[in-house]
């Protein structure tokens, strides 16, 4: 039987290859994801462990444990005098202090704008070049800075911006922009690329001035004398520490940093794997369909095997073995392609400014095993039902002409099973969407399984929809192409189950892109709505990337710009309010209502005048949650570690989708007192008259020395955010395009098999007067009808899923908004897919030798 299976495959090499491609792409996506994320993990690990390689103990400021939505409070610096004290300890071999700032150092491009690190760190370092054992950075060219006007920049920036040793570069810090001479170029140990992150290294005194750490260090690194363990060293150091400092072993520091980052790469990994899973799912559909068709076509062959004594089990095994072999080949090719894809995904991220650090590609054994297991498993599982169908071929079919494969025992239960699956999927999706107390992991599991079942269920009942849908989309085809269109439509109705299964693969891809399009359009609409409801200002100053806070000096500069009516800055930082980590903002009570419209829940604009030193405007939902009403008091711990008590003066109800102010807003003066280095989230500006380009000029001039800050009209700001949504959307489209491509292969396969199956019929049609063009058009139209059926089911399904998710996100008040243009585009894509899939099979049909076709057995 093994030989039968092998020979069978060999005889159908081309078709087997086409079937295998369905799984190859899915396996490639999965392998590529693992390779890419493993490589990124290793790069980050390298960064951290190299940083701490020679450090037995590290002293840093004790940051209050406050973190919210990815932002953590920055740790305070430690006094420089601590360094001397530590050096005098017994167990200390050597110690060095360094200045480390993560976000304030902005290197300017040649055009004067700051490099946009897209949220990645823009490091500013002050390092003692004499103590190089603690220095994780390695010079690639030049020397370490020796004077206040010298700087070493990272190799990536030097490369991309074209800065060489000896060039002058302008850098903004907490102080206004200055020019520096590039004394050298460095990289982080062995890591070749830091992604979008940048760094600039100054002498220690320079860094202390620029980054407002006079007389302080951010970290002190210590190595132990021989014979002293890191733990013993830590014990020695603890007593000499001031209360704002902490000490940990080098390894502990590295682990801490590493685990924070691996959460992030985990997220990317699951994100990409989801698309790989979609690709595999579509691939499974294609395999199921293709193998069902080949089994039906090999009826006589299978029947003959039965007549010579093959048992049902042997037949089933032969089919499964074929599937196994196809899966095996698919896994091998898929894995190799996946490694290539890892390079491709990295390139894609680079193009979208989402680059991450990389080193040499990591191909873990786990990746190889996964590739094979997944590829083979998906193929064999998909082939399971067809293999069962193959066993139903009875020996008599070897001699009888053209009999239909008998339906299985359970065939008539199919609609009920389909409805049951649909019910289950809706249940799971409903639970995932609407229950509150669900762990994130569980929620995603419910969603994943729910969506999977939804697609399977819809695919199962879609055969019932083929007739009406074929009529709907086929009639225009007939009008266009006459008899070819008529025959094409009838052909799709011959085997509604098969048509539905072919269309299903495309349906999945289209449903997902529709889902993504509707969801993102709704989010854009909500974003716009939220901003327009809250902001009345003409201009907005933000940082270059739009969400990290920027230097307060920029806000001050804007306030003193010419020709403006009013300017007010809004400070922002994470803090602990009533024991919960949230964003806290500092506002100017006498100016804020000119630019920000409070939707008061309890209180009014008068509350702003009443704010005083310890008054707070509180988000209504938070207040309800904490049982706070006007007059109540609660504790506030700032990100710099200072605590105070605040009193609720009013509550307001901002749009849940995008709250521009923090959960708690206090007066700017109080905010500044409670934070070391207060930064701005926004500066809002009103000008007399309209916000024109003319009016913008003085503002831009004022901000010239603050490269990280930028000013825009409110409308421009909203449009910029729309652009960011669009960028993300494009990336999702590209990732989902993979599934559409797989379904194209599925359609080519099915059509080719159909043409093969109808060889004699095609011969007859040609013999009674069908031209080659008519034959080609008939196949092409059939393909387009099938594709449009996929669209007709997929697009509404996608809209439904989006509506479901939006309902589930009710607390964020996402406004449902269906974008017409993308939907029309998707329908056109379906037509194009149909046309492309038909090219080869149609040519085959047209080129048939009429006589041979007529005599075909």
């Amino acid at each position: 039987m093994i030989r039968v299976a092998l020979r069978g495959l060999a005889g159908r090499k081309f078709r087997a290859a086409l079937t295998a491609i369905a799984v190859v792409l899915g396996v490639a996506m999965v392998s590529g994801t693992f390779v890419l994320t493993d490589t990124i993990d290793k790069a980050f690990d390298a960064i951290f462990f190299e940083s701490y390689a020679n450090t037995d103990a590290a002293i840093s400021g004790k940051a209050p444990d406050i973190s919210f939505e990815g932002s953590t409070a920055e740790a305070p610096a430690v006094p420089a005098s601590l360094l001397e004290r530590v050096r005098q300890l017994d167990g200390v071999e050597a110690a060095t202090g360094s200045v480390v700032d993560e976000s304030a150092t902005k290197i300017l491009k040649a055009d004067g704008k700051a490099i946009n690190t897209q949220g990645a760190p823009s490091f500013g370092f002050g390092i003692d070049p004499e103590q190089s054992q603690f220095n994780p950075l390695k010079l690639v060219e030049g020397t370490w800075p020796a004077s206040p006007d010298e700087v070493v920049i990272d190799a990536g920036t030097a490369d991309k911006q074209g800065y060489a040793v000896g060039d002058s570069v302008r850098i903004g810090t907490l102080k206004p922009v200055q020019s520096f001479r590039v004394s050298g170029v460095a990289q982080y140990g062995s890591v070749s690329s830091l992604g979008t992150a940048t760094f600039a290294v100054f002498t220690i005194p320079t860094a202390q001035t620029l980054l407002e750490r006079k007389g302080k260090f951010d970290a002190i690194s210590i190595s132990a004398k021989e014979g002293v363990t890191p733990e013993q060293l830590v014990e020695q150091i603890k007593p000499v520490l001031p209360p704002t400092a902490q000490v940990r072993t080098g390894v502990e520091e590295a682990n801490e940093a590493s685990s924070e980052v691996s959460e992030f790469t985990s997220f990317i990994r699951y994100f990409l794997l989801a698309f790989g899973a979609v690709a595999l799912f579509v691939g499974a559909f294609v395999i199921f369909n293709t193998m069902s068709i080949t089994v039906a076509q090999r009826t006589r062959e299978l029947a003959t095997l039965r007549t010579i004594g093959a048992s049902r089990k042997q037949i089933r095994r032969a089919v499964l073995l074929e599937a196994f072999l196809i899966g095996l080949v698919a896994s091998i090719v898929g894995f190799l392609l996946g490694v290539g894809l890892a390079y491709g995904l990295n390139w894609l991220f680079k193009q979208l400014d989402l680059e991450l650090p990389t080193t040499d590609m990591v191909i873990a054994p786990r990746t190889i095993v996964f590739a094979f297991v997944i590829g083979i498993l998906v193929t064999v599982l998909a082939a399971f039902v067809p293999s069962l169908r193959a066993t139903r071929v009875s020996p008599i079919l070897a001699v009888r002409e053209g009999a239909e494969l008998p339906r299985g025992r359970f065939a008539r239960y199919t609609p009920f099973v389909a409805l049951a699956i649909l019910a289950l999927s809706l249940f799971l999706l409903g639970r995932a969407a609407f229950t509150d107390e669900l762990a994130t992991g569980q929620r995603f599991l419910f969603i994943g399984v729910g969506v999977l079942l939804l697609f399977v269920g819809v695919a199962m009942i879609s055969s019932k929809l083929v007739r009406p849908l074929a009529a709907l989309v086929g009639v225009p085809g007939e009008k266009l192409t006459g008899i070819s269109g008529f025959l094409a439509r009838r052909n799709t109705l011959r085997n509604p189950g098969r048509t539905a299964a072919t269309a299903a693969a495309l349906m999945i891809g289209l449903a997902l892109v529709t889902f993504v399009a509707v969801l993102s359009n709704s989010m854009k609409a909500s974003n716009r709505g939220a901003i327009e409801e809250q902001i009345a200002a003409d201009f907005v100053v933000t940082s270059q990337d739009g969400f990290t806070p920027f230097v307060s000096g920029a806000g001050d500069a804007a306030e003193s710009a010419q020709g403006i009516e009013l300017a007010t800055s809004v400070r922002s930082e994470v803090g602990k309010v009533a024991n919960t980590d949230k964003y806290v903002t500092g506002i100017e009570p006498d100016r804020i209502s000119s630019v920000y419209k409070f939707d008061w829940a309890d209180g009014s604009d008068a509350a702003l005048q009443d704010l005083g030193e310890f008054g707070a405007i509180v988000d209504k939902d938070f207040a309800e949650d904490r049982n706070l009403v006007i007059g109540d008091r609660f504790r506030f711990l700032s990100g710099s570690g200072r605590a105070t008590t605040l009193e609720v003066k009013a509550t307001y109800d901002p749009p849940p989708f995008y709250q521009l102010l923090g959960t708690v807003s206090i007066s700017k003066a109080t905010f500044d007192k409670l934070h070391d280095r207060p930064r701005n989230q926004f500066t809002f500006i009103n000008v007399p008259g309209d916000p024109t380009e003319q009016a913008e000029k003085p503002l831009e001039a004022a901000l010239a020395t603050f490269p990280d800050a930028k000013v825009q009209t409110r409308e421009a700001w909203i449009t910029e955010q729309d652009e960011e949504f669009n960028q993300f959307l494009t990336m999702l489209y590209v990732l989902l395009a993979l599934s559409v491509i797989i379904s194209i292969f599925g359609m080519i396969n099915t059509l080719a098999l159909a043409v093969f199956e109808r060889t004699r019929e095609l011969g007859m049609l040609r013999a009674v007067g069908m031209t080659r063009w008519q034959a080609r058009t008939m196949i092409g139209t059939e393909s387009v009808i099938t594709a449009l059926i996929g669209a007709a089911i997929g697009l509404p399904l996608g809209i439904f899923l989006a509506a479901l998710v939006i309902k589930a996100l009710e607390q964020f008040d996402v406004r449902f908004s269906i974008p017409l243009q993308p939907l029309i585009a998707f329908a056109i894509v379906a037509v194009v897919v149909g046309v492309i899939a038909a090219i080869l099979p149609a040519r085959r049909a047209a080129r048939l030798n009429v006589l041979q076709a007529l005599q075909y057995e």
Binding site: G482, R494, R760, E761, M764, R766, A767, V768, G769
Partner: protein, 251 residues
């Protein structure tokens, strides 16, 4: 009802001129037809008989423009087939040739009526319902028009095929073993129907068959053996045909 036929008004409908058909090269070459010439008469039923390997099917394929001869040429309705493009050949098929196959070759997803009008639809022509109604009645399908082939018996399917072949009133109809897949009673009915069409419509027809009874209904019977015409009978009875077959095969 007289049917006006496509093509020239008089003379043979199909002319074969010294047709040879060779398969393969050199030592392995097989000559299926060796220099066959014949004129197919208008308005008559010509039967072509012979043992397997005699070349009868090959001859019909070439006459019907399904295959090209290695040498020699075919003329249909006055047009020499020669080096015609596929498009022109297709035009000839639409206007001048009708087919009746052994395995009925109907499209399963079309009704009987749609199958019958299929060649006309392919040619983009409007059906002449006056003629078609008469044809359908003559063929005996009156109440079965809306049925799919799977709902028809073998005999009924062949009637549909016959109606389809005759619907466009072609110059000549080629029938390849039309009764080969039918039981003897149904086969007899079909043969009568074919004969009736030739008589009633003046339809020219060429029928390949190995059954003596089928050939007995023909106006002219050609016997092939080893790629050549060995006997050319006018109308003959079954007995005479069987004798001739024996005679031809034993040579």
């Amino acid at each position: 009802m007289e049917a006006s036929q496509n093509g020239a008004g008089d003379g043979p409908v199909v002319i074969a001129n010294d047709i040879t058909r060779r398969y393969g090269e050199g030592d392995a070459a097989v000559d299926a037809l060796r220099g066959v010439s014949l004129d197919v008469e208008r308005g008559k039923l010509t039967a072509v008989m012979g043992p397997s390997g005699s070349g009868k099917s090959t001859l019909m394929h070439i006459l019907a423009a399904l295959d090209r001869p290695t040498s020699g040429f075919v003329t249909i309705a006055g047009t020499r087939l020669g080096q015609l493009s596929d498009k022109d050949v297709t035009k000839i098929r639409r206007q001048h040739i009708g087919f009746i196959f052994q395995f009925f070759n109907l499209l399963p997803m079309l009704t009987a009526e749609e199958n019958i009008t299929l060649p006309l639809a392919l040619a983009g022509e409007k059906p002449d319902w006056a003629f078609l109604d008469d044809l359908i009645k003559r063929v005996g399908l009156g109440d079965r028009l809306k049925h799919r082939p799977s709902e028809l018996s073998g005999g009924q399917q062949q009637r549909v095929a016959i109606a389809r072949a005759l619907a466009s009133r072609p110059t000549v109809v080629f029938a390849d073993e039309p009764t080969g897949n039918l039981d003897s009673k149904t086969g007899g009915e079909i043969l009568a129907l074919l004969h009736d069409s030739v008589e009633g419509y003046g339809q020219s027809m060429v029928m390949v068959t190995h059954e003596a009874r089928a050939a007995a209904s023909a106006d002219r019977i050609l016997f092939l053996a080893d790629g050549s015409i060995v006997k050319d009978l006018g109308g003959a009875g079954e007995e005479e045909i069987l004798d001739t077959i024996r005679e031809v095969t034993l040579t």
